[in-house]
C-alpha cells in the first residue's frame, strides 16, 4: 500500500471540500467514505443558505458535489476506518476490510453520531469493557461475556467470542431477528449502565442486572477520541484551532465533527481550511 499525502475520512460536504482543495494543490489523497456521499445530506429537504445555490434540495446538492468530484477524477474508497494510529512521521489507518492504509496526514470529516456511551462504559474501557472482539477474545478464555451489538453486523463478532468464552449473552440494540448459534443466549433488554465490583462486571438494564467477566460494546461507528488514540476531544467533537489543526501534528478535523454549528456551508468551508493547513504543513516538512 503506497503512502498518500492526505487521507480524508468522511464523504459529506467537509470531506468532499477537503478532497477538492487537496487535489487542486497537487497532493495525493485517499478519500474514504461512502459512494453515496452522505445520507444525511441527501435527506435534507431544502438548503437555503448555501451561497450560489438558493433553495437547493439535499439530493441536488449531493448530485452537484458528486459531479464536482467526478470532473476532477477524485475517487471514493469505500472502506470503514476503525482505528487511526499516530506514528509520528505518518498515520496508519486500520480499515474494517483488514487493509492498513498509510498517510502523511489525516483529515477527520466523519460527522457526528448521536450515540452516547453508557454510564460507566468509558471509565471501564480496558478494565472489563472492550470495543474490539478480535483484539480481546483470547483474553476471555473460560470467561463469561456480554456483547451489546448495535447492528446485525456485530452478530458474527459474538459468534467469534463464543469460540473462546465459556458463555456469551447477546443484547441486540435493534429490532431485527437475530441469527446466532444456539449456545448464545439472546437477551432483549435495554442496557442502562455498566459497573464493576472489582471481580465481576455488571450490566444494568431496565429489567434487572446481568453479571459477567467482560462486556463488549460493539457500535457501528466509534467516537473520534476512540478512533484516534491521543486525540483531544470536547464531548462528541474534536478540538481544533481556527486552522482546523488538532493537538496531533498532521491531524486535522472539519465539519460537524469539529463542532457546531452543523451547517453544510460551514462544513465545506472548514474542509477547505483543513486541506490548506495539511498542504502547508506537508510543504513545510518537505522544505526543512
Amino acid at each position: 500500500m503506497d503512502r498518500v499525502d492526505i487521507a480524508i475520512i468522511g464523504t459529506g460536504p467537509a470531506g468532499i471540500s477537503a478532497a477538492i482543495t487537496s487535489v487542486i494543490r497537487n497532493k495525493k489523497i485517499l478519500l474514504l467514505g461512502s459512494a453515496d456521499l452522505s445520507a444525511k445530506m441527501r435527506k435534507a429537504q431544502e438548503i437555503r443558505n448555501y451561497p450560489g445555490l438558493p433553495a437547493v434540495s439535499g439530493e441536488a446538492l449531493s448530485a452537484a458535489m458528486q459531479e464536482h468530484l467526478s470532473s476532477m477524477g477524485i475517487e471514493i474508497t469505500e472502506d470503514k476506518i476503525i482505528s487511526v494510529y499516530a506514528m509520528g512521521s505518518y498515520f496508519a489507518l486500520q480499515a474494517a476490510s483488514g487493509i492498513m492504509y498509510e498517510a502523511s496526514s489525516v483529515i477527520l470529516a466523519a460527522g457526528v453520531t448521536a450515540a452516547k456511551p453508557f454510564p460507566g462504559e468509558e471509565e471501564l474501557l480496558g478494565r472489563g469493557v472492550s470495543y474490539c472482539a478480535t483484539c480481546d477474545a483470547p483474553l476471555c478464555r473460560g470467561k463469561e461475556v456480554i456483547v451489546i451489538g448495535f447492528s446485525p453486523d456485530e452478530e458474527k463478532e459474538a459468534a467469534f467470542l463464543a469460540e473462546t468464552a465459556s458463555a456469551v449473552t447477546y443484547i441486540p440494540m435493534y429490532r431485527q431477528e437475530v441469527q446466532l448459534p444456539e449456545t448464545i443466549r439472546v437477551e432483549r433488554a435495554r442496557p442502562a449502565g455498566i459497573a464493576s465490583d472489582g471481580q465481576k462486571r455488571i450490566v444494568r438494564t431496565q429489567e434487572g442486572t446481568l453479571t459477567c467477566d467482560a462486556v463488549f460494546v460493539l457500535r457501528e461507528s466509534v467516537s473520534a477520541g476512540t478512533l484516534v488514540p491521543g486525540l483531544e476531544t470536547d464531548g462528541p467533537h474534536v478540538k481544533v484551532d481556527l486552522q482546523m489543526r488538532t493537538n496531533l501534528p498532521g491531524c486535522y478535523a472539519c465539519g460537524d465533527i469539529a463542532g457546531k454549528p452543523y451547517q453544510y456551508i460551514k462544513a465545506a468551508g472548514q474542509g477547505n481550511t483543513a486541506a490548506l493547513s495539511a498542504v502547508s504543513d506537508l510543504d513545510e516538512k518537505k522544505d526543512s
Binding site: S83, Y85, M87, G88, L139, G230, L248
Partner: protein
Amino acid sequence: MVKKISGDDFQEVLESKKAVVDFSAGWCGPCKMLAPVIDAISSDLDGQVDFFNIDVDEAPELAAQYSVMSIPAVILFKDGEAVSVAVGFRPQPELETWIRDTLL
C-alpha cells in the same frame, strides 16, 4: 531496546528499579502498532529505564496476576511494584511523557 521475556524471567522486572512492561500478543493489531513506539521510547530512555515485552499467550498467569483484560497493556514498575497502567495504543509523545512523569 525492548527485552522479550517469558513468565520465568519475570524476576528481572521485579528486580529492576524502573521498568516498563508491554503486555501484548502477535495477533493483536494495536499491539503491533505500539511496538515501534515503545522501541523508540526505549532508545530515548536508554540507561534510565528497563523495557520489557511479554506475550500474554505465553504467560497467561502473569496477565491474570496483573489484571490484564485488554491489550496492549503497558504497566510501569517501580522497585518491583506495578504503579501505573495504560491500556491501548497511545502516540509516542503522550506515552513518553507518562513514562517520564511516573518513573523519572
